[in-house]
């Protein structure tokens, strides 16, 4: 090749190490970057390998510029933007891969490696779980090791030795990390919020329910929230976690009726309470699930007239709140006519068969309560089947479900039941939420997952108020008593999810979830509130972020200063001592050659006297003395000089 490579040139093993480091630090990202761009990154990496393997020249400025332009264009086409989390990530990774190609100097190499730390940090924009944290911690170790290895390129020292050194470095940094973690000022506010992409898949209950919504949710094993009871734990069949109440039906989908769901200003709890704390996973909505029916709620939220708790702000981060609930139904004596009509709303010319069926049924059971009970009885007696893979339904969904397919799950039953109630002129509504939850003995809390999503009905009984009716329980009592797995008896295609949901009952899985819960609460949840509590525990008054920063800076700075001073002085002190011992050896050697140093004689005078007496010793003695003087009197006690001094004295033969 015509182009000469720079004097600094990373060798092949270092190149492989760089690529390996890059691979590991960006590995979790590879699924987040479009395949085309991944291919581009891989191509750049391979190019680097070839450059190193055959000692080729790195690309020139024009080639690099055009590569940059091409990359940016490709990024723009893949993301239809060059900013935002996803596009930014692609940009970072591709530019880093390009940097890899153009590495020429040691500075380039180190810059590349330092940027890998940044790549590590960007992983936290996507996940902050224990596993990913452990993984990234290992990657940090790898990057540090690579930095050390690159700095000592060409030495005989093995990679494992570098790993030990970097491991030691990281271990030494842990106390500092803990101090920083505890004291670094947390600011509640948008500054620390993670950027959220539009395309980010949300799971959770929404404000409308169309066929299939809940069955999708049920297939998700994601945790919705965790609950810790401070009072007695209610029975499984009473653990209904209330979500959006859907009162408007358009023939196909149920939605929240804004007229009916308004903020209420006061509430008088009348019956016994369950008190509990919920740790909600971010659901990107304002819904705060609560045990049916809530009677008190956190200050950061409100209760709607349909007894659903909403937060004032969207829950984008994990959120903890305290609640209390009553196990008695909500009682209200009357339902004003206007509201009553809204709860009887049905679209015209839908489900003619059911309309006829209900008007007959109504004639048999003029009493509302007996009508409800008998309809539930009807479900029970007519071979309705609970399944997550029901056949598709047409326009007259209730008709088809009631008289043709008779297969479905909670949303079908709730839908059919509420529609028929309204046909019978009984005010009714669909309530979505979660039901049940798994108890974790280790941490004494319940885990409620998206797969626990449920839909049930509420009907208005005059003089009694809203009563919870769960038609699913009539069909498949197991669903309510034992959870969703137990109730499914016909699904084969669902085994994958089934397997994973089953496994969560094993001890290991519960232990693991307990760990995750601790991680969420104490590490990820360590925000301003918890920090203030912690500082108060340490005897520090809860301070503003400025004084926290100052405290942090003083503690960390002081700590580092002490360590630095200790090493600085310990080492130079030792070195000076050592140099004197070596010099004394030199004097002893001369003393046995009948040229002893007088105790009061300075080293320079001594060497003049030696040279005068023995001209043959002049060169050596002068060299030794000069070194000694530099170490001892010119305050330059470097290890190299001491080694040199020791070497000269060792071979000094007067």
């Amino acid at each position: 090749m015509s182009n000469k490579i720079n004097p600094y040139y990373i060798n092949q093993s270092s190149t492989r190490l760089l690529l390996l480091t890059f691979l590991f630090s960006s590995l979790p990202h590879l699924t987040r970057v479009p395949p085309l761009l991944v291919a581009l990154i891989v191509a750049f990496a391979l190019w680097r390998l070839i450059i190193s393997r055959y000692s080729l020249a790195t690309p020139g400025i024009y080639l690099r510029l055009s590569l940059i332009i091409i990359s940016v264009v490709l990024i723009f086409f893949s993301h239809s933007s060059t900013i935002g989390r996803e596009a930014g990530l692609s940009m970072l990774l591709i530019m880093l891969a390009l940097k890899l190609v153009e590495i020429k100097t040691k500075r380039d190499t180190l810059l590349f490696l330092y940027l890998n730390y940044f790549v590590v940090v960007t992983n936290f924009l996507y996940s902050q779980s224990i596993l990913i944290s452990l993984y990234l911690f290992t990657v940090v170790w790898l990057i540090t090791t690579t930095i050390i290895a690159v700095n000592r390129q060409g030495s005989e020292i093995r990679f494992r030795a570098h790993m030990r050194v970097s491991g030691l470095l990281i271990t030494q940094a842990i106390p500092l990390m803990l101090v920083m973690f505890v004291l670094f000022p947390r600011i509640s506010g948008p500054l620390w919020k993670l950027p959220k992409s539009e395309s980010d898949g949300k799971t959770g209950l929404s404000e409308n329910m169309s066929p299939g919504d809940i069955s999708k949710l049920i297939k998700s094993n994601k945790i919705a929230f965790r609950v810790k009871f401070t009072s007695a734990i209610p029975e499984t069949k009473n653990r209904y976690w209330r979500g959006p109440v859907l009162s408007h039906f358009n023939g196909r989908a149920w939605t929240v009726d804004r007229q009916l769901s308004r903020r209420i200003m006061y509430h008088h709890p009348k019956s016994t309470l369950s008190t509990y704390t919920i740790t909600l996973e971010p659901n990107y909505s304002k819904l705060l699930p609560a045990l049916d029916t809530p009677v008190s709620w956190p200050n950061s939220g409100f209760m709607s007239s349909e007894h659903v708790i909403y937060a004032f702000q969207t829950v984008n981060n994990r959120f903890q709140y305290q609640l209390s609930s009553s196990n008695k139904p909500i009682s209200r004596q009357t339902l004003p006519g206007k509201i009553r009509n809204r709860y009887l709303q049905l679209p015209q010319s839908y489900n003619p068969l059911s309309t006829t069926f209900i008007s007959n049924f109504r004639r048999q059971h003029p009493n509302d309560i007996s009508l409800v009970n008998n309809l539930l009885q009807y479900f029970r007696n007519n071979k309705f089947i609970y399944t997550l893979q029901p056949p598709k339904l047409g326009k007259h969904s209730v008709d088809e479900f009631m008289f043709k397919t008779r297969r479905g799950f909670c949303e079908h039953y709730a839908n059919a039941f509420v529609v028929m109630m309204r046909m019978a002129k009984i005010p009714a509504r669909v309530v979505t939420g979660y039901q049940g939850g798994v108890y974790n003995k280790l941490g004494d809390y319940f885990i409620v997952r998206q797969s626990d999503a449920h839909a049930w009905a509420e009907v208005w009984i005059d003089n009694q108020g809203w009563r919870r009716i769960d038609p699913t329980a009539a069909v498949s009592p197991d669903r309510i008593e034992r959870g969703i797995e137990a109730s499914l008896n016909d699904d084969s295609a669902w085994t994958g999810v089934l397997y994973s949901t089953n496994s969560r009952f094993t001890g290991v899985a519960l232990y693991w979830d307990n760990m995750r819960n601790g991680w969420n609460q104490w590490v990820l949840g360590y925000g301003e509130t918890l920090q203030n509590e912690m500082l108060a525990m340490l005897g520090l008054l809860s301070a503003g972020w400025l004084s926290k920063t100052i405290t942090l800076a003083v503690i960390v700075g002081g700590l580092l200063l002490l360590i630095a001073l200790y090493y600085r002085y310990r080492d130079s002190f030792k070195r000076v001592e050592k140099s004197q011992a070596i010099y004394n050896r030199f004097c002893r050697k001369l003393s046995s050659a009948d040229l002893p140093r007088e105790p009061w004689e300075g080293p320079k005078d001594y060497v003049i006297r030696i040279s005068a007496a023995r001209a043959d010793l002049h060169t050596e003695a002068d060299k030794i003395t000069k070194l000694y003087i530099q170490i001892r009197y010119a305050d330059q006690p470097s290890t190299e000089k001491i080694k040199e001094l020791a070497h000269y004295v060792k071979y000094f033969k007067p």
């Binding site: 105790p599 300075g602 080293p603 003087i629 001892r632 010119a634 305050d635």
Partner: protein, 314 residues
């Protein structure tokens, strides 16, 4: 006034050249000249003590000339009054006001010739000037020029008509040197050569006052290791522990020893100090501080050597 940018090597060359030039005038006394120069570079006042006629005044004049400083000389006699040194307010008939007539002390180098021939009253006129770089006359404080050096010569105490300088004033001199008789060869050369005084006029003055201040700053920056401070303090302890002394070196004395050693190291073209530097300046530092109770110069010299021999170099 900006601080001169001087590099160590050229300064060293310059200073060596100065020592050489002075050596042409006071023959065979180079080490003494070097000591005198290091005293002035360390910002100290110099006392020259020897028999009359060995070249004390010549040395003082030579140094003043070489340093290119404003120079004034006061011949101290038994009837000298403080006002003769400092100056006095004189009534001006025309303006009807008192005018301060500046005395010879308002100069950069003051040669106080035969200082111990004056009465203690006149001697003490120098005190404030030497220590504070200012004089107070008629309740008014007047600053002295900068830099300000006093080079004083004195006759041996055993001579007739001398008032020995009090210890408090002796301590204000950083170093005390004696020149001794010249060697046989040196004296021969002197006898053959031109008049010394006229030679001085031919010297080129090579430094400006700003440069001298810059050099003094450089001397201050000469490095002193802990090991050397150990050595210095051991020596000082030795002077204080000796029961035959009436008290050892004062803290001002130990500062003078450190400054002198740094200055000496600087003249040796080093930026760090060695035990040898301390040993080189030590005799001249303690010479006048001890000679009053030891009595004789020779004895003071012996004493210095004895002390140095008793302290091992670390």
């Amino acid at each position: 006034m900006t601080e001169m940018r001087l590099d160590h090597l050229s300064v060293h060359k310059l200073l060596n050249h100065m020592v050489d030039q002075a050596g042409e005038i006071i023959l065979g006394k180079k080490p003494k000249i070097k000591l005198a120069l290091s005293c002035l570079l360390a910002g100290g006042h110099l006392l020259l003590e020897d028999l009359p006629g060995v070249g004390k005044t010549t040395l003082a004049r030579t140094l003043a000339h070489l340093l290119g400083l404003d120079f004034k000389r006061v011949q101290f006699t038994s009837d000298l009054l403080p006002a003769d040194v400092i100056g006095a307010s004189i009534y001006d008939k025309k303006s009807g006001q008192f005018h301060f007539q500046h005395g010879p002390i308002f100069t950069q180098i003051l040669l106080a010739d035969e200082i111990n021939r004056a009465t203690p009253k006149a001697q003490s006129a120098l005190l404030e000037g030497m220590e504070e770089n200012q004089v107070s006359v008629d309740g008014e404080t007047r600053p002295l020029p900068h830099p300000f050096f006093v080079i004083a010569t004195q006759n041996p105490i055993s001579h007739i008509g001398v008032f020995p300088l009090p210890e408090s004033q002796l301590d204000r001199f950083m170093m005390c040197l004696s020149l001794d008789y010249p060697s046989f060869e040196a004296e021969r050369e002197m006898l053959k050569g031109e008049d010394r005084r006229s030679l001085i006029q031919n010297l080129s003055c090579t430094l400006t006052p700003e440069q001298i201040i810059a050099i003094r700053n450089m001397v201050n920056r000469v490095q002193v290791s802990d090991a050397l401070l150990d050595y210095l303090q051991n020596i000082i302890a030795q002077t204080r522990n000796d029961p035959s002394n009436n008290g050892g070196l004062s803290p001002r004395g130990s500062l003078a020893l450190l400054k002198g050693a740094k200055s000496w190291a600087f003249l040796e073209n080093r930026d760090y100090t060695l035990p040898e530097d301390i040993q080189a300046v030590f005799p001249s530092i303690i010479f006048h501080r001890f000679s009053s109770h030891v009595g004789q110069h020779d004895k003071a010299k012996e004493k210095a050597e004895e002390i140095l021999r008793n302290v091992p170099v670390p």
